[in-house]
Amino acid sequence: MSTLLGRLTPWIAGAAALIALPHVFTSGFALTLMSQIGLLIVFALAYNMLLGQGGMLSFGHAVYFGLAGYFTIHYLNFIYEEQVPYIPVTLIPLLGGLVGLFFGILIGYVSTRRAGTTFAMISLGFGEMVTALTLVLVAIFNGEDGIQTDRVLGEELFGITYGPNIEVYYLIAGWCLVCTLAMFLLTRTPFGRISNAVRDNPERVEFIGYSSQRIRWLAFSLSSFFAGIAGALHAVNIEHVGFEQVSVIQSGLVLFMVYIGGAATFVGPIIGATLLYFLQSTLTGVTEAWVLYLGVLFVGVIMFFPGGLAGLISMHQPIWRARARLLAPLLVPYSRFLAALIVCVLGCIGLIEMLYFRSSRLSTETELVIYGVESDPFSAGPWLIFAAAAGLGAFAIRKTYPGAVSAWNTAIADARARPLG
């Protein structure tokens, strides 16, 4: 019983957090932010069924997210016009999931015949094609304007109308929890394990009785199902869907979320979706260079931490499990490295902000405040300071990095040397 309780603990804690959050952050902005994060978590986890679990890199997964969104909006509008059977809004996401599943099965059949780079290119091709079609088929997609709806269909269970945003938040939170649990359990099924096996070694799988193509197709379809649920939730939350939602930009964003969060672990996409969307929503108002920072972060993660943020955490898990005290010797070398990293990053940010200010400043903006200090990008002082910080930081990174690595190596070797228990 205690192990069952232990396993359920994270889920109960997660549910409790989802219930409590809107009482902590009460503003409408925060509520929208959390609602979006909730549905993006579903989308990111769905995407990771491809990338992290199945080894398929897709540049066009927003297609299923967006098409489900379009369908949802149309369906809600049709309910108003009484052309289709009534479905309560609570269950509408399921409908979106089925739409995603339908297109996933259809398009997946063609695209999963190949893996690796070719698969990536096909997904890009489909993404481009569907985006172009949303602009051409005006009656269905209404071009750039997109389509709108009113999510309030009337009273449902317990008098919920989904008029107030808090009700939509709880709708999303509920679906997010259910989908997360479902996708987590999926990783523990025969399908989930073989999907991992296909990722690691598609050829070998063929010699233990499995068609790797069939597995990819199944993974693709199921992933599209969950992406469809996320798309429907998005449509209900925003009451609008437009071509941005199917576009390659949206696909790229979810890729960034999953990869930066960490594709190799289950929680990675959750971390990535939360962190990136939060940063995106708050930083865009602060700095113009946000997209550049995002790109650099992404490239940096690929080059230095291919496991993503969650990977950084989970690489310490064996040490932690073996003996928590083994983590202690890591503290000093890690903080040295971190300090160097922070100095370098702060210096670089300063330089970039000044460059942006010089190239695209508005005449109504006359001063640049970096880290609370007014920095004049037209005098040498700030340039020298930030360049020095960046340079010294980079130098210090080179000096401290090997120390951090060797500390980890020692710790992990110690941890592995201990018997299983």
């Binding site: 509520l31 071009g143 750039e144 304007d145 695209s360 109504t364 006359t366």
Partner: protein, 422 residues
């Protein structure tokens, strides 16, 4: 050289900002500006912000509104993404901002209209008013019209009406070729032109009518140029903007296609910069606007307005190319004063029917649908016609010269709006 320019502008603007900062503490009337300030078309959003801040500052310098309160522009980035627009609207509600403006992207405009319709119905005490400075979809002041929406730009149909009227006057426009972007806006342009051509330009024959996949998907326009050439057209009428306009015009110029281009958006900075002087002049590129700097009427504007324009050019290194954004602020200020309150419902009521002196005669905010009606001018890109087009301090070596004015009566179209007032 560039550094010098920056230093110069810094010297000019520093006192203004200091003044602005001293005003920050006071109780301001906030106007949220929801535009893309990041992402691929951030330039358009940021230009808008600059104009709004500049002219809001002008109003504040004159003594502000409502007996000394200042107008504060609150930039809200939507990154050209619909969900971000909604999110920013919720922020607007959080921060108790009661007036918003937007204009880049009619999809966002539509979202704002729908959102505010719902919000204002549910929360009449916290109603929010939307001042649309540039989103041109005609239906916003027809079947989708709302009491909470005011448009300070001509809609597509009106702009097409102006262009078609001018084509009717142009004796060299005999064979007309239309090419538009295949989405809501381009189709509306096409439909309006088809409707108005027979009536206003009976001598012009429509020899081609084409729709293309929009948003930069067409990389090479030469096949279209070949078709235009084969059709014998002497005039092209297009609503294209962005890369779809730039590549179209450049391809025509390169093939020495001898036609005149009637467009809406040839004169905005990204078009001028992308097309360049040589190709623009070769294709006799025309635009329809509310005003331009080289029109004879320009110099007859009130002296203080000319002063303001001159300051604008000095401070920003940019030409004056969107008068309507100035009006938006002016209307806003005048309506606040007329209402004597910053209650959006009262301000909206005050704005209805409000008249103001435009650059070429009176203009009015039609009460029936909240569409502004004003005279428009068609102008052609030329090499030298007085004030050259400048942007970010760069002189593009071109200017626009007036072809003719289309007065309000020719632009004013009937509306189907059934306005519901609270």
């Amino acid at each position: 050289m560039a550094v010098l320019k920056w230093l110069r502008t810094l010297g000019i603007t520093l006192p203004i900002v200091l003044a602005a900062f001293s005003a920050r503490g006071a109780d301001t009337v906030k106007l949220g500006l929801i535009e893309p300030f990041s992402g691929p078309i951030a330039a358009v959003g940021r230009d808008t912000l600059e104009i709004f801040e500049f002219f809001a500052h002008e109003v504040n310098q004159r003594g502000g509104v409502l007996g000394g309160r200042h107008i504060e522009i609150v930039p809200l980035d939507n990154a050209m993404n619909a969900e971000k627009t909604t999110q920013q609207l919720r922020k607007v509600i959080d921060d108790d901002i009661r007036f918003v403006s937007q204009g880049v992207g009619s999809n966002h405009a539509l979202n704002i209209i729908k959102f505010l319709t719902r919000h204002n119905r549910r929360n009449p005490d916290q109603a929010i008013l939307y001042l649309n400075h540039s989103a041109v979809t005609t239906s916003f002041t027809n079947e989708l019209c709302s009491f909470w929406h005011f448009r300070f730009d001509a809609n597509v149909d009106m702009k097409v009406a102006a262009l078609v009227t001018q084509i009717g006057r142009d004796p060299s426009a005999r064979k007309l070729y239309m090419l538009n972007q295949n989405y809501a806006y381009g189709q509306a342009f096409q439909a309006a032109a088809q409707r108005l051509l027979a009536e206003r330009a009976p001598d012009a024959e429509l020899v081609g009518d084409e729709l293309i996949v929009p948003f930069g998907k067409v990389l090479d326009f030469t096949p279209y140029i070949a078709k235009i050439k084969a059709s014998g057209a002497d005039t092209v009428l297009t609503g294209n903007w962005g890369p779809d306009l730039v590549r179209f015009v450049k391809a025509a110029a390169e093939a020495n296609l001898n036609v005149a281009f009637y467009t809406i958006y040839a004169g905005i900075p990204s078009s001028v910069a992308g097309i360049g002087a040589k190709d623009g002049i070769a294709t006799r590129l025309k635009q329809v606007t509310e005003m331009h700097e080289n029109d004879p009427l320009y110099d007859q504007q009130p002296a203080d307005l000319l002063d303001t324009y001159e300051r604008w050019r000095q401070q920003t290194g940019k030409s004056v190319y969107s008068e309507r954004m100035r009006w938006t602020i002016e209307y806003f200020a005048a309506a606040l004063d007329k209402a004597g309150s910053d209650d959006p419902a009262l301000v909206a009521a005050a704005m209805e029917g409000m008249a103001m002196e435009g650059p070429a005669g009176p203009m009015a905010m039609r009460a029936a649908d909240h569409q502004i009606i004003f005279p428009m001018v068609i102008s052609t890109m030329t090499e030298d016609a007085g004030r050259p087009f400048i942007y970010d301090g760069e002189d593009y070596g071109v200017a626009f010269a007036t072809d003719g004015w289309i007065m309000s009566d020719a632009i004013e179209l009937p509306t189907t709006c059934e306005m519901k007032r609270p």
